[in-house]
Amino acid sequence: MLKKYFKIILLALLLVAAYFLMNSLYHFNKKNTTATTENKNTNNTTSNIDQWKEYKDKADGFTIAYPSNLQAIPLDPDNIIGNQTPDGGVSFATRGPGTMGVKIYKKTPFLSLDEWFIQKNAEREILRKEKNIHIAGYEAMVTYYVSVMPDFEETFPNEKRTVFLKNGDLYEIWTKFYHNPDANEIVWNSFTFDK
């Protein structure tokens, strides 16, 4: 009996084995393709940020570096931005929300960075101090956004606002390098005033 159906059983076993082999190969290939796509995306982001351009603001006399994939859009001082009215500056963006920028508030009432920090935290959104650095020789305060809820808080460490005072003018460098936090250092170090 067994001998009679031996060939059929063998054929069925071979078919089952072939199915599992094909299935494994398919999933193995699919996994590799996904991994390749992810790597490609990461490389794209990194290569974009590896190439930097220099923006010179003739009106306010400063220079700053920005990733080459972004477009520089000078701020129009006549265009009020909500409750903030910068007197000058620039934004750097792709087609969507901006990635970084500079806002200049001339003759600001703030005598110190701590005063600015207290005032900002009195408004709706909360900032938290990260560290103090020096930008173009001026002491600067690096802050990031925090959303405080009753039971927890959400921090946005990649959404930074870095400010410094120069002769009564407040300079704010805002950055959102979600995938390349190291890029902040490049931006801060690149900021210089024309002589």
């Binding site: 982001t45 909500g82 934004s91 963006a93 792709t94 969507g96 809820m149």
Partner: protein, 198 residues
């Protein structure tokens, strides 16, 4: 003595009546506890707006979604809203529900939120999203791969209307309203999750 007996009878009658009233009140409160609590919450909500809405969690999902659409609609273009996620987390949903802390933190890859007891997320086509649902997404590399959050206010056969904050190149932190064609939406995102709030 007669006087004392009369007084004693009256006192006993009074105690009996008092017992009846107490039993009646206890019974009434036990039977109508839910209605009483709802009524009190409603009165509080009417006279003290901003406190917990009566039975947000008891409302149907359609009503909750509509409340979120209504709240987003109360805002005007150019109002100060703050960062996109913060506006939804701190303003829109709390104002609609009267409850804070419903929207959890965002995961590190920006495509979805961390676990939250009062949000339900799903992947799938944006065409099947509903007004009042919230989208958490990571933008595509053409849009510099950052996160974004918005409220869906309407869906048509070709696209969706959204309310959002800080969709601008200069970190304006202002509220705005956009119509996004479905094709444009898919160009703009790398990944996204659609959420409804419980």
């Amino acid at each position: 003595m007669i006087l004392l007996k009369r007084f004693s009878n009256k006192y006993n009658n009074f105690r009996e009546s008092e017992r009846h009233v107490t039993v009646f009140l206890q019974s009434f409160f036990q039977k109508n506890r839910n209605s009483i609590v709802t009524t009190i919450f409603t009165i509080v909500a009417i006279f003290f707006p901003g406190t917990a809405r009566a039975g947000w969690h008891d409302w149907s999902q359609n009503v909750r979604n509509q409340a979120i659409v209504d709240e987003a609609g109360y805002w005007d273009t150019g109002d100060y809203g703050g960062q996109c996620k913060t506006w939804v987390q701190q303003q829109v949903v709390p104002n609609a529900s009267g409850l804070t802390g419903l929207i959890p933190t965002t995961s590190s890859n920006y495509c979805y939120w961390d676990y939250g007891a009062y949000v339900v997320g799903r992947a799938g086509y944006i065409e099947y999203a509903h007004p009042g649902e919230i989208v958490q997404m990571q933008l595509s590399s053409d849009y510099d791969s950052g996160p974004h959050t918005f409220v869906i206010t309407a869906i048509s056969a070709y696209g969706l209307a959204v309310a959002e904050s800080n969709w601008c190149e200069n970190n304006c932190e202002l509220v705005g309203f956009r119509y996004i064609d479905f094709d444009d939406f898919y160009d703009q995102v790398d990944c996204f999750t659609i959420y409804y709030v419980l």
